[in-house]
Assembly symmetry: C3
Homo-oligomer: 259 residues x 3
C-alpha cells in the first residue's frame, strides 16, 4: 500500500523522517513516496496545487497524507476524506479542495487506540497524521478512526469571470520561476487564447502565448504565457525566471482580458 | 531491513545515490530511508540533533548510517555502535552521542572481505560506511566487521547549570528559522518555565513562552520560546524566522535565567 | 527492478512525484531511487557528470531515467540506450555521453501501446519517459518501444591536450562549492601532479595539490586541487566554497599547465 507525503517541513530536519519511521513501525509493508516537502511555509493553496499535480498518477488505494498546517495546536480539525480511489489525511484547512469533489465523504479524526497516548502541540504530522495513515494502509476504515462530518473546509474559488475578463491570482511558483495562475484551460472555450488577449500581472502586460517553452522565436527575457502540464495558465520567461524578472509572488492578483 | 541515511552531502550531487547503489548492489532487500542530507556542512552537533529527532521512530533492527565527517581521509576511526534496538555506523566524532548510552558497545571498522579493495580518500560514505551498513543488514555481526573499542568519542555536555542560570548554545536551526537550544525539558522541574524567566540570545532578551506556535496573542515579529517536539527549548518568532530576525546561528551562546 | 531518476525538476514541485506515480501505476514492483533532481536547470553536462558518479553503483538490470531537456516539445528525439548492464532512457541531447560506450545500441522511442494517447508539450518526463521506463522494468524490450538508430547525440570532448597544457572547463559545482574540471586522472601519467604545475581558473592560479580535504596544512580560504572521488580534478578551498571564493561557475574555462 502506497502512502504519499506532502508537507512544508523541508528535507533538512528530522520531521519527514520521523513520520516515515512512525509509518514503517506501525505498518512495515507501507511504501512511502514523497510528493514534496518544499511547499512555501504555510502556503495551503500552493500545497493544494502541488497535490493536484501528483495525486491522480498514483494507483487506486493510495493514501495521500498532506500537512501544511498553520493552525497546528489550535482547534482546527484533523480529517480523513474518502473518494472512489483514494483516502486523504491532514488538517481541515482546504488543502484537499482541488482534489476532492463537493460533497465528499469526510471524517473528523478522534483520539483512538490507533493514536499515541501523548500528542505534542507542535508536530501532528508525527503524532496524529502518520499513525492514521499507517492504520488506513493496514486496512482500518475511516469510520473506525473518526466521526462523520459534513462540512470539511474548502478554499475559495480560484478565478472570477466578469464579461471577457477573468480575475485570479498566482497560486504557485515552480522551480524554474514560472508563475502558475488559477485559471484553467477548461474555463475557456478554446485551446488557443484568442488572437488578442492580455495578461496583467505585477505591472506587466503579456500578450504572447507559446505551446512549449523552447518554441521559436526565443527572445531571452521575454515573458509569455503557456498552458502548463496541469492545464493551468502559467507565466514564463524565455531562458529565465518569470518570478524574478517580473517580481511575481504567490497570492499576487492576475487578470486575463480576452479581446 | 531498514537502513537510514543522514549526511551533509546534499541531494544535488551523486553522493547519496552512489551510497544507495552500493547498498542495493550488496543487499538487494535493504529499504533505504533518508533522514536528512541537508545538515549544515560539517556540523556534527546539528547532525546529532537531527538523528535524535528521527532514530527512535524506526523499528528495532534498523541500521542508522550517518556521515558528517570533517576528518575524512585523516586518521579518525570508523565505528559501529550497537544498542538494544539499533546499530549505528559512521565516523568516530561524537555524531552518535545523543542517541547512545554511555558506555555503549563499540567497534572500530577494520579492512575486511566486506569492504572494497580500493578506498578513496574523499568518499568513505560510499567506500566504507555503505558496504558496512549493507553487511549489517545482511546479518553480518559487528564483531565480524571490526574490533571492540572502549572509548568512542562523545560530544561535550550541551548545557551547564550554575545556580538559577543555565548556559548552553544553539545546536540547530530548522527550516522555519526556529533556533534549537541545548536545554531539555527534563532539566527543569516543571513543564512551564517560572513566571519570571529570561532567555538571552544574540543580544536579545526573550521573556515570553508559548505552548504552540499559533497560540494567541500572535504578534508578528515577536520572539518567544517554546518546547519543541523533541523537548528542547526553541526560540521562534511569530510569522517569521527567529534566525533571521535575531541574527542567530549555530554555536551561538544562549543563557536561560530562571527568576 | 530498480529505476533511477535524474532530473533538473527540483523536489519542491509535483513533477518528480508525478513520474513516480506513473511508474508505480504501470509497474507496481518497481523500486524507484532518486539520483538527483537538483541539477542546474537545463545543464546537460552537469547532469551527465552526476549520472557518471552514481550509475555504476547500481545492480545490473537497473534502468536509468534522466531528463534534463532544454528542447522539450521541439523535434529532439527521445531515446533508449542499451549497454551490457543497463538501459538508459531520456532525451537525445548527449546526457548519456559519459556513461555509454561509442558506438552504443540506441533506439528512438516511438508512439506505441505503452504510451498514453495524449502527451503534453511540456512534461515528457511524466508522459513519455516514465511510461517507457516502467515498460522496460516490466520486461518489454527496447526493440518493442522504439526503432534502432545509429547516431545518438554525444557531448564534445571535455578536455583538449596541447603539449604540456590541458584545456578544459568547469563541468559541475558540488554542494560544498568544489568545482569539478573536465580533466580525468587517467589522462595524466601519474597520480600525483608533477612538482610544478598550475591550474588557471577565473583569474586565479592554483599550485597546491592535496590528497584529502583536511590534509595538513589547512590554510582557511586557500584554494587547492584534489582528485575527486570520480577521479576528475577538482578545485576546492579549505573551510570554504571554491565557487564563492574564486567566483567560479559551470562552463568557465580552466587550463592545467604541467611544468
Amino acid at each position: 500500500m502506497i502512502i504519499t507525503l506532502l508537507t512544508d517541513y523541508g528535507l533538512d530536519d528530522y520531521y519527514v523522517a520521523a513520520m516515515k519511521g512512525v509509518i514503517l513501525s506501525r505498518y512495515s509493508k507501507a511504501r512511502v513516496i514523497d510528493i514534496s516537502h518544499g511547499i512555501e511555509a504555510q502556503n495551503v493553496l500552493s500545497a493544494a496545487y502541488v497535490l493536484l499535480g501528483a495525486y491522480q498518477q498514483f494507483p487506486a488505494g493510495t493514501i495521500h497524507l498532506a500537512v501544511v498546517d498553520p493552525g497546528v495546536g489550535s482547534s482546527r480539525r484533523r480529517i480523513i476524506l474518502r473518494t472512489d480511489r483514494y483516502n486523504f489525511v491532514g488538517p481541515d484547512n482546504g488543502l484537499f479542495s482541488l482534489v476532492t469533489p463537493e460533497p465528499v465523504e469526510a471524517f473528523e479524526i478522534q483520539p483512538a487506540a490507533y493514536l499515541p497516548a501523548s500528542v505534542s502541540n507542535t508536530f501532528h504530522g508525527r503524532d496524529i497524521f502518520a499513525p492514521v495513515a499507517a492504520a488506513l494502509a493496514a486496512g482500518i476504515k475511516p469510520e473506525e478512526l473518526g466521526s462523520s462530518i459534513r462540512d470539511p473546509k474548502r478554499l475559495a474559488p480560484l478565478a472570477e469571470v466578469t464579461g471577457s475578463s477573468i480575475k485570479s491570482k498566482i497560486i504557485h511558483i515552480d522551480r524554474f520561476g514560472s508563475a502558475v495562475i488559477g485559471i484553467e484551460r477548461r474555463q475557456l472555450n478554446s485551446d488557443v487564447l484568442p488572437r488578442s488577449f492580455a495578461v496583467h500581472a505585477g505591472g506587466a502586460v503579456i500578450e504572447v502565448q507559446k505551446r512549449f517553452y523552447s518554441e521559436e522565436p526565443v527572445v531571452s527575457g521575454e515573458p509569455f504565457v503557456i498552458w502548463g502540464s496541469l492545464n493551468f495558465l502559467e507565466i514564463a520567461v524565455a531562458n529565465g525566471s518569470a518570478a524574478a524578472v517580473l517580481k511575481l509572488s504567490c497570492g499576487q492578483e492576475v487578470t486575463l482580458e480576452l479581446g
